[in-house]
């Protein structure tokens, strides 16, 4: 947090900077001098470089940062971007009272990709209770004008949200409605800073007015379908994640004052004069030294850093002891529960109780279904259609989040603009492209090339995604697409090999076709299947299967994510033969284990041919980043391929679950002996193993009821592997509670498989 200006143009009587115990602002420069800004930026960059920090969040704060003016702010923003961006993604924020916000400043914030939070306490009466000028006049009109500016389409990207300080004397319904009327992307509700020395206002006999007041807003918010992100309520949910105010995550905020002093979080100013001080500054002390300061270090200990009362509390993982500053009491320091403890308990109860938990309707998955329900369904060995649909939806959502992260990391481009246009105009086309299994590997590789070694230089995948979506949508567009190995890949559609050197091609999308130009060479590709083949165009090939159409993916470069060589593009006869075998194999799965066939229908969209290896002729693989695809060595026998498909699809499903939940305790070095390998394996590998072997057991168990003479022995073999793996996992003490339940259910499913005789 960078305090770029230490004075304010409002005179709010609830302000912790000026009205509470700490008064150090009086001795600091009004504005941060340019040399201090430069030094601060270099200190942050130095830390990012030395520690490989991927993202740095910098909040311009005050006082009132807009008092710096547009020119002053531009200098600060330019300095920060120039110093930090070479080393880390820089997430720039600014918190303001909004009074001085104008169009010029909005343009500046859009230009520098700064997200702006505005303080507003609710309706006019609520806001005027505290947020007034020194002469007592209201700031309400100016703040609302600022919010209207941020809402404009051209500024909307810079609208971060609203900070509302709670006052229980205000009408919660009117406050809620006033906040929603400003259409903020997010609302942050702030408990007024208080300590045991100076407890919060509690008018009337109610001992927990803040719980009641916030509980009322929570109920409205739930009833309205959670129309806006409200940080407090989201953070207080089970597993909702920590914030500075809640949760047990280590404190990771430092403040740089206008004189270059390093300070701890500025809410500490409410405790006592000088409470946030460290005695260190950006001129002489790097970040690492500040982090070792006792006041910062003590806040890295999670639950161990809390008082005995909090450590023994059943909801300590929810509130995390509350905001550090709110624990202050002269004599015992910060070794106390929050002064808001009764209110936080009441609020957590309110969040738990509303809405009341309801079981999902039969055959329909509820988005809020608990983890146990999802895992119990998958622990049958296969999983229902609705569970598969949910997993596929979460995978698509993760891909969209990665796409947004790329935009965040690398800035807006023509391809991004085209994608967001198509997302509005033709969302189905964009979704069809983003659901392609190899989009996520492309985005992960772009964000961190080291995460997927072997894929070579990280190219921007967005132009090719935009072209694919535009072609599907029939929307004319032109973008430059980077070349890899002399070709451009249009995900889901094919590859175009282009002649000559060049780093990118200009691609123009037209009705049913596209043109690619590199230098003086131009290629036109028709997507009409009845048209003559287009020069250099290698279209994808797919085959009909009961679940729809299955892509034989042998062109997309990001398919090379399995840790073993993939086959280059198959010759036409080989592709046709593999297609026939895959279609037959899918039917075999339907015949043997219809529930597993339904699970395949729910998400398997592509098969990647692996390169042949005489030493290991029958291989298959799944990649965590490529849900919807499996890789196999082409094999002519559909009975064999059917087992591989079932086996690999188990890994894909469980991988999608592991994106959401920890089933294995993280950070343990446990290794487990398993019957299917000579070397001890990590618990997650064993978990994947037993889940796949359970399904294979079910396949062979079913075949044992037919004339297959080998089936019973195979079923017994895989059953023994599964049983031994399950028992070893449960004995290892390496599973989370959810993991133990899941594996326990797998054991039950295995017993059912034996008893049920297929």
């Amino acid at each position: 947090m960078l305090k770029v200006h230490s004075r304010c143009d409002l005179s709010c009587d609830h302000c912790y900077i000026y009205q509470h115990a700490d008064q150090t602002w009086r001795g600091r420069p009004a504005r941060m001098p340019p040399a201090t800004v430069r030094r601060a930026a270099r200190r942050i960059a130095e830390h990012a470089r030395e520690h490989g920090v991927p993202v740095v969040h910098v909040v311009l704060h005050g006082g009132e940062p807009l008092l710096l003016g547009a020119a002053g702010l531009r200098e600060v923003l330019a300095e920060l971007r120039a110093a930090i961006t070479p080393w880390a993604r820089l997430d720039l924020r600014l918190q303001t009272n909004g009074v001085l916000l104008d169009e010029e400043l909005c343009r500046l914030f859009v230009e520098y990709d700064v997200r702006v939070g505005v303080s507003l306490d609710g309706d006019r009466a609520a806001n005027d209770r505290h947020r007034v000028f020194a002469h007592g006049g209201s700031s309400h009109d100016q703040v609302r004008r600022a919010l209207a500016l941020l809402r404009r389409p051209e500024h909307r990207a810079s609208y971060a949200g609203i900070l509302c300080t709670v006052d229980v004397r205000n009408d919660p319904d009117r406050v809620y409605e006033a906040l929603l009327a400003e259409r903020p992307p997010r609302v942050d509700l702030l408990l007024p800073h208080a300590t045991w020395d100076h407890p919060p206002l509690r008018p009337g006999p109610d001992p927990t007015p803040y719980a009641r007041w916030l509980g009322r807003i929570h109920r409205r918010w739930v009833d309205d379908g959670r129309p806006v992100s409200i940080r407090m309520f989201e953070a207080l949910r089970p597993g909702g994640g920590g914030t500075e105010a809640f949760g047990l995550a280590p404190a990771d905020v430092l403040v740089i004052e206008t004189d270059g002093a390093w300070e701890q979080v500025d809410s500490l100013k409410t405790a006592y004069h000088g409470a946030a001080g460290t005695g260190l500054d950006v001129f002489d002390h790097p970040v690492d030294e500040v982090v070792r300061h006792p006041g910062v270090a003590v806040r890295q200990d999670g639950v161990d850093g809390l008082c005995a009362t909090c450590r023994a509390c059943p909801v300590v993982d929810r509130c995390g002891g509350g905001l550090y500053a709110h624990r202050w009491r002269t004599g015992s320091g910060f070794d106390n529960p929050s002064v808001y403890c009764p209110d936080l308990l009441g609020l957590i109860d309110a969040v738990n109780a509303y809405p009341p938990p309801t079981p999902p309707a039969s055959g329909e998955w509820s988005a809020t279904a608990p983890v146990d329900e999802l895992l119990d369904d998958l622990a049958t060995g296969h999983g229902s259609t609705s569970t598969l649909a949910l997993l596929a939806a979460t995978q698509l959502s993760i891909t969209r989040a990665l796409l947004a992260a790329c935009r965040d990391r690398f800035g807006s481009t023509a391809a991004w603009d085209l994608l967001i246009h198509l997302d509005q105009a033709a969302p189905d086309a964009v979704q069809a492209v983003l659901a392609h299994p190899f989009v996520r590997p492309a985005l992960v590789h772009r964000l961190d090339p080291a995460a997927l070694p072997g894929l070579g230089a990280a190219l921007d995948p967005l132009p090719a995604l935009a072209v694919a979506a535009a072609l599907r949508a029939g929307v004319p567009a032109t973008v430059r697409v980077p070349l890899r190995a002399g070709a451009i890949t249009v995900p889901t559609l094919g590859d175009l090999v282009l002649p000559g050197p060049g780093e990118s091609a200009e691609v123009t999308v037209g009705p049913g076709e596209f043109r690619a130009r590199i230098g003086s060479v131009e290629r036109t590709v028709s997507l009409d299947p009845l048209a003559p083949p287009s020069t250099g165009w290698l279209p994808t090939r797919d085959v009909p299967v009961p679940g729809g159409r299955l892509l034989i993916e042998d062109g997309d470069p990001y398919r090379d994510c399995y840790g073993q060589p993939v086959e280059p593009r198959l010759e036409a006869p080989a592709a046709r033969a593999l297609g026939r075998t895959l279609t037959d194999a899918w039917r075999v799965v339907q015949r043997d284990v219809p529930a597993h066939a339904a699970a395949l229908d729910g998400g398997l969209r592509a098969v990647v041919p692996l390169a042949p290896d005489p030493a290991r002729p029958l291989r298959s693989a799944t990649a965590r980043h490529a849900f919807g695809a499996v890789a196999v060595t082409p094999h002519p026998d559909p009975e064999t391929l059917a087992v591989l498909l079932v086996h690999e699809w188990q890994h894909a499903k469980l991988g999608a679950v592991l994106d959401l939940y920890d089933l294995v305790e993280p950070g343990q070095g446990t290794r487990i002996r398993v019957p299917w390998r000579p070397d001890p394996r990590p618990p997650e590998g064993v978990l994947q193993g037993v889940y796949a072997h359970l399904a294979v057991t079910q396949v062979w168990r079913s075949r044992a009821d037919t004339d297959d003479p080998d089936a019973s022995a195979q079923a017994a073999h895989f059953r023994a592997w599964t049983r031994d793996g399950v028992e070893a996992l449960l004995a290892s003490r390496s599973l989370t509670a959810a993991g133990e339940r899941f594996v326990g259910q797998l054991r039950h499913a295995l017993e059912e498989t034996r008893v049920g005789s297929g």
Binding site: P54, H57, V59, D91, Q95, V118, S119, R156, Y159, A160, G161, L163, P185, R186, D188, L190, S229, E234, A235, G240, G241, G242, T243, E244, A367, T368, A369, L390, A393, L396, S397, R400, A401, A404, A405, D408, L419, I420, D423, L447, G563, Q564, T622, A623, R624, E648, G655, D659, L660, Y661, P666, Q668, G669, V674, W676, P682, E684, G685, Q688, S734
Partner: protein
Amino acid sequence: MDHAPARPTRPDLDDLTRSLHTPLERITVEHADLVEAVRRRVVTTGSVPSGVVAVAAFNSSI
């Protein structure tokens, strides 16, 4: 306003399903915590806890 992203250990199921209804353009603003959680959980170079199968060519890992 607390501008720092929340520190979720994993993408939240509810956020994931809700974000599908958010236009791409607004995901980083309206689902900042989700984007951060996905970034931390999915883009995992060098930070994969012991015992986790990270890249998951599972058949060489199980």
